[in-house]
Symmetry: C2
Subunit: 273 residues, 2 copies
């Protein structure tokens, strides 16, 4: 359901962002210079868009609008009519469901190239809220569905994305159902690191714009337990902190051991539709 955790991960075709060290990242300003906004999009080659030809992309572009959100603004509300898909081009968001008494489960975090709104039915089954300022591409659901017919590759790619998200969701079930606090945190940190690399960014530093409470609500723990476990990892030398929202992974193998990844090589999967 929601674009969550993994879609990006699973996408292998990613080379884009990592080339930036040499040349400054061309920040996509919307419709700058009158050419297709996609041309300058940082996620142009990733996920769904990466599967499209320039022509198809132009078609998609014709039905999309650029939109920005401030921190804490809501992209979609659980229960509202599901009218739109979004593809994240910049920023981070959380996707969550609430129980009647206020308990919250964050099903995933959205990073650039992630899609949200897909798993919806008539109404959204979750809420998505910006953790940082965001820029997204917005697509009217109805128009995308129309495009499915004339652009079969789009439908296939959406299948592929949904399938990858499903696999990620299953990994998360293993985490929530069968891992202890340390294993959960280790898995989470490695996942963020892996996704960062898939986005083409290098280095062992991950930034975590989410609060401890948000991490807790994602991992099925409490704020205090997350905080204690982070401290424990720091004392063990597995990680290093530069403020609560910048974590440097010092001993990836140690974390991988803890995480008990089913997927030992850590390579991303790519659904082959």
């Amino acid at each position: 359901m929601k674009a969550s955790t993994d879609q990006v991960l699973k996408q292998s075709r990613v080379q884009r962002l990592e080339q930036t060290p040499t040349s400054e990242l061309p920040r996509p300003s919307r419709n700058a210079r009158g050419e297709s906004p996609c041309a300058a999009c940082p996620v142009r080659d990733m996920n769904v868009c990466g599967a499209l030809t320039d022509t198809d992309l132009a078609t998609m572009n014709a039905i999309s609008t650029d939109k920005t959100f401030e921190r804490d603004q809501t992209l979609i509300w659980e229960g509202e009519a599901a009218g739109e898909f979004f593809i994240v081009s910049e920023g981070v968001a959380k996707v969550f469901k609430l129980l009647p008494d206020g308990r919250r489960q964050i099903t995933g975090f959205l990073y650039p190239s992630d899609i949200v709104g897909l798993a919806s039915n008539e109404r959204y089954a979750y809420t998505a809220q910006a953790l940082t300022p965001m820029r997204v591409c917005r697509f009217p659901r109805s128009k995308v569905l129309e495009l499915f017919d004339e652009m079969p590759v789009l439908c296939r790619k959406v299948c592929c994305v949904a399938s990858n998200e499903l696999a990620a969701a299953q990994d998360q079930m293993v985490l929530l159902g069968r891992k202890n606090a340390a294993e959960r945190l280790a898995s989470f940190l490695l996942l963020l690191l892996r996704r960062k690399h898939l986005r083409g960014e290098e280095g062992q530093a991950i930034d975590t714009p989410m609060t401890r409470a948000e991490i807790a609500d994602h991992l099925g723990l409490t704020t205090e337990t997350v905080s204690r476990t982070v401290t424990q990892f720091r004392k063990l030398g597995h990680i290093e902190l530069d403020g609560p929202h910048h974590i440097l992974v010092r001993d990836e193998p140690a974390l991988a051991d803890l995480a008990a990844f089913d997927d030992p090589d850590g390579l991303p999967h790519t659904a082959s539709f």
Copy 2:
């Protein structure tokens, strides 16, 4: 998936299994009488197959083979090359992932009309094993993917299925991350009951071919906790037992209260691709 005439379908859609008391259930024997096996398929009108015309169904049928499994036999193995999809026509299976030390998370149970093998990439990310004798339709992955092009409705329907499964996975995350033992069991029982009704079977009796340990591995609990919680529900009068594998839901509202369903009306969603 198989082509058929519709008459049978309409009734099959809902009435099938419960009528068995009076008339013997017409077991679909494969290719009996040389007509399309779909004609007699109990799930002809459900899920993917329900979206297809007779013509399309015939096309699908041409690439499918019927297959049966005994209890405990494995449909697919985690890590093996993902070459096939299955649609369950009879029986129940469990789908699970293992951690290296043997901990197991059962991500779901498959009932007639459910699909398995979809969420795969190059290799299956989970194992599926029969809980009862089963009959399934088997489709070579490659051929189905080819069909996507000539049968757009198929691709859309697969999107739809994946999307619905994703939504179910997210509900399961809420359960695993934020619900206590009683809430988990209540949610689980109601889900089984709801699915039973969706399959067209009536009544408040659910049969649970899975063991307590399997329920536990699905709900992120232990055998003992499941057993104790079942006993507790029985003593409260919420349920009634007729052996460990037949549970009669006596007080559905009480369970619904406990379950804290996000979806109060309990209506199934249907993705609208």
